[in-house]
Symmetry: C3
Subunit: 437 residues, 3 copies
């Protein structure tokens, strides 16, 4: 039987969410209960990539049953699941037994009579080591494809980077992917696994929290960029700390890492939403290295912290920021505040600016100045500021990233259209899907 | 004469301290005085690795005498020295004369009739460049072993990473170590040398202090992790600034770099102690990105800074952190404070948690929640908080790092047993040496 | 015609400034107006490297005319221009048409009858990818040299690192430059291009500002160090924010990246000046991780912020830093303040210290202590502090970097002699040009 593989969609450019579910939980009436409920998520609650997790999330004694559950649940619900499906199997760069088990798990899932494989986009391989170890997994996938009668290369492979070796392999990826004796072109996601990475690096923190590992995330993001893949950050354990999760994702996006692991449907919603531009523009103030969002009140942007104070006495203003106090005249005050302030464009603004630049370019101009003006209120004092930014081709293309992301989401996740239209309004959605193409 | 090499102990997994002593000081009655006193250090004052330093710490004109001093002092005291002994010789990637001198120095130390080599575990090679330069030093060591009648590979080699080339070589190490034409398996420590690295990178700071070089430390730690070696940070010059030294080590441990250079016996004590878990658990508060330790008073944990204030008025609390003020009800206050607080487990706690998880695993559970509760006192207001953390296999293994370190220290440093038992109590020491194995 | 290439000066060790000018601006009477005015800059306003920019700064439709303008303006003004001249041509790792255009642009500039090429030191290639892509540009330069009758290797090549691939290539450079089938020894500058890099990495910030990319800058600086090249940071867009530009350059120097892009003559002055040691020494206080410069008043160094307060009551001092308050006696206060304080040496001090160390070394001493004393005034309280620093050979050589930079500037930029003598005084300039050689 040759299975039709047309409903795979490898053309996704972004993945926001990587959501793992245990494949089999002991002591439940239905050990597949969590799989079954995850498979029925829709809209912003459904991840871009769903990972039935037959490795760390599932007890070793339950993994046999886990394979059966994957097959059953995906056969039943897979056709309607709005995201991609990538089960995680066991693997370890230092353990041939685990690697053989991983191979067997993939083979069983792929060749099951239920046809579940028709809805499975690829597999996730954890604990990889050197690039030669990645090739072993790749070869097993090639064999699996052959045994299951699938097109060569039709199953994607994603890896969890959770060792120094794997981090180093990220630098070889681009060159190795072209070699004729492997099928590494099947690579899809590069996912950081900071818990095991921390163990492998033998790092310690006082509180047991994970170190931030900025270099690992940079190297993963760069590896993905150089090899045309997608970078995803590891799990954020403290599932009640939504502010921390948001801050982590913001940091990641500044590194070019758009995706993140999600452990709960709540984290999925947060992570599906966070990388999209906000509905409305807003202003922030940079105070002592921290960004403070200003509240909009009657069209003015109000700072209500107390780390910045301004006292007026005649024409003189005393501006105090943290421990630093200065006497300024009105123009100097405006300049200081303008330097502290920044505008966070909303989706509408971004689309406007892009359209404006496109028009300028057609008229033969290579660069235009975009101006942003506002009234800020700090400590009761109103300050009119305006900021220019030069836009050239490069600025335009960089600004395009969130819009391209939006378009990618819009194309591949029809189940989120309604929520997106509620968020932005139909008109903005329409213009945002059209701009820049 | 075939020398018995059985008292070498290459199985050390961790090195906390790398202590250098000048090999010959001019103008002293006994030019070997500093070597002699270092050789007699014991307990927490004795380093894990002692480095008679015939390079930068010793004036070029004294290095001939330095070789003799090494031989004499190690022959006399080496058998009883509790740590490993690794003399540093001269070397430079761009200077064949220095490399030849380094070769001669090792040869003289190794073939001296005193039998000093019996107590020497390896040599430290500074100023290495590309991996091919490392191989030159490795080859000299192979010849030295042969001439001295030692087993091939019995002398270890540690390098100082203090150039861009050497930093890049860290990425090749794992692959190169397996090649048949070298003996790079003898590698032991990868030590950063930030003073010369700063020069080599032509970096400048306003005050002449060293830049922090976080990427270098990451890459060294990762190189060590990938090649099964041990990463050690460079010297901390400001020997009176113990708080700075402790902060640096904490940063390093978060990068997986457990060892550090020590310039004085005081620094040795600090660096031998710092990576071990504290005796007792404690709480800290994260305020504006800084961790503030709370003092325990009558079983409560008291914040006595003034960056956080709480004012109560009826059921409403006004929480002010830095410049940020919010009105909260009791539950919200508890949540805010819980998010700011973190528990620093003591050795006892770590062993408890590990034992608890081991029991859960045997009972077939893959993950359990560990809860930590406490009463915090902030600005006179008492707040009961409790924090959960999920433990799975990966968490367990990551938490194991400090315990493995402790066990490694306990195994290889009998001279520190007494101090360790004083610090933790005999019972905790006993359980800590048994857990997780 | 064999052109005389003697006025090329490849021996520059440092480049402070990389100043781009559009080659042709539409709608002006003279489309070369900006080129012409840049060509006439002198002294601190003139960059070390001037880049007639026939890529992003110039509209695509104007680039044909841009080539003519480069040739005309350089033929007329090039002989007298005090810095090096490196036009930027078009290139893209993914676009053979752009690469061919870049080749043609270089060929036209080099073979023009005006002899402009006599004053051109090399070309800047943007948007490079893997090292194999760099080799394509190198090969075109080899052909251009041949066609123009230039010595092989006489034209240098600088690249803009603005993709993940190019960042990875930085690690291969040292090994690849030695290969016989290329002329990559012609490489000169490694310039970061963060705008396009951000796009290529698909990174996003809320405000559209560029992410800081510390790892990219480290890798560029390390690549330059390992291959004997010069690292230059990309453009700082917010041209009115001089404080931000200075802070960025300070950060860069701590990474060993001495050069930076300049977009205006004002930025050129700032960037030519910033890496040179200050005229006079000064003190700073580190408060909450930030460095606050102290003002000198009557030989004392005064802190006038309000983040640090001291209250005296009898023999007891209450020191408050940020939210942290402590009771100290006089000696403890002195120690605390000494730990917070740091001395920023002026050119005079650096030369003094180097001379002192040179004398000590000649007298056979390998290390000496340098002491710095001062009276600090904090919150009205006077505190006498003194700080020691050990100087050994390595310290000496690291301290030499700013002096070597100064000497390099002095040698290659006679047009800046007058301004340097005004800044430092003739005597200091004389000693600074002599020391350490």
């Amino acid at each position: 039987m040759l299975i039709d593989t047309t409903d795979r969609h490898y053309e996704r450019e972004f993945v926001r969410t990587f959501f793992t579910s245990p494949t089999a939980v002991e002591g439940e009436d239905d050990s597949a209960k969590m799989l079954r409920s995850a498979a029925q998520l829709r809209g912003m609650q459904a991840p871009d990539v769903w990972v039935p997790d037959n490795e760390d999330a599932t007890a070793p004694s339950m993994r046999e049953e886990g394979v059966e559950n994957i097959v059953d649940v995906v056969a039943e619900y897979g056709a309607d699941f709005p995201g991609e499906i990538h089960p995680r199997v066991v693997w370890h760069r230092e353990d041939p037994e685990l690697r053989y088990q991983g191979f067997q798990q993939m083979l069983r899932v792929a060749t099951d009579d239920s046809g579940a494989i028709e809805h499975i986009d690829g597999f996730v391989i954890p604990e990889v080591g050197d690039i030669d170890d990645w090739k072993k997994a790749d070869e097993f996938l090639t064999i699996v494809e052959h045994e299951a009668g699938l097109e060569p290369g039709s199953l994607s492979m994603s890896v969890i980077v959770e060792s120094g070796e794997a981090e180093l392999a990220l630098g070889d990826l681009r060159a190795e992917m072209g070699r004729p004796a492997n099928n590494l072109e099947r690579l899809f996601l590069l996912v950081d696994g900071e818990v095991d990475y921390t163990k492998d690096m033998r790092a310690m923190t006082r509180t047991g929290e994970l170190p931030p590992w900025p270099e690992l995330r940079h190297n993963t993001s760069r590896g993905a960029s150089a090899a045309g893949l997608i970078a995803v950050d590891g799990p954020y354990d403290d599932i009640r700390d939504e502010a921390g999760y948001l801050a982590r994702m913001r940091e990641n996006r500044e590194k070019g890492m758009t995706g993140i692991w999600s452990l709960t449907p709540g984290q999925v919603v947060a992570a599906n939403t966070a990388p999209l531009p906000p509905e409305d523009g807003s202003w922030l103030l940079e105070v002592d290295g921290e960004e403070v969002d200003l509240a909009e009140v009657d069209g003015k942007h109000v700072y209500d912290g107390d780390a910045v104070t301004i006292e007026q006495s005649g024409d003189t203003y005393t501006l105090s920021v943290g421990g630093d106090t200065r006497e300024l005249d009105e123009d100097e005050l405006r300049e200081e505040v303008a330097n502290m302030a920044a505008y966070v464009p909303g989706m509408d603004d971004i689309v406007d600016s892009m359209e404006e630049f496109e028009a300028a370019k057609e008229a033969g101009r290579g660069a235009i100045a975009m101006t942003q003006s506002a009234t800020l209120v700090i400590d009761g004092v109103e300050i009119e500021i305006s900021r220019d930014r030069m836009w050239d081709e490069a600025t335009y293309q960089a600004a395009q990233t969130p819009v391209t992301l939006f378009q990618d989401v819009y194309e591949h996740r029809p189940d989120q259209h309604e929520e997106l239209e509620e968020m932005y309004g139909e008109d903005v959605v329409e213009r945002a899907t059209a701009v820049g193409s």
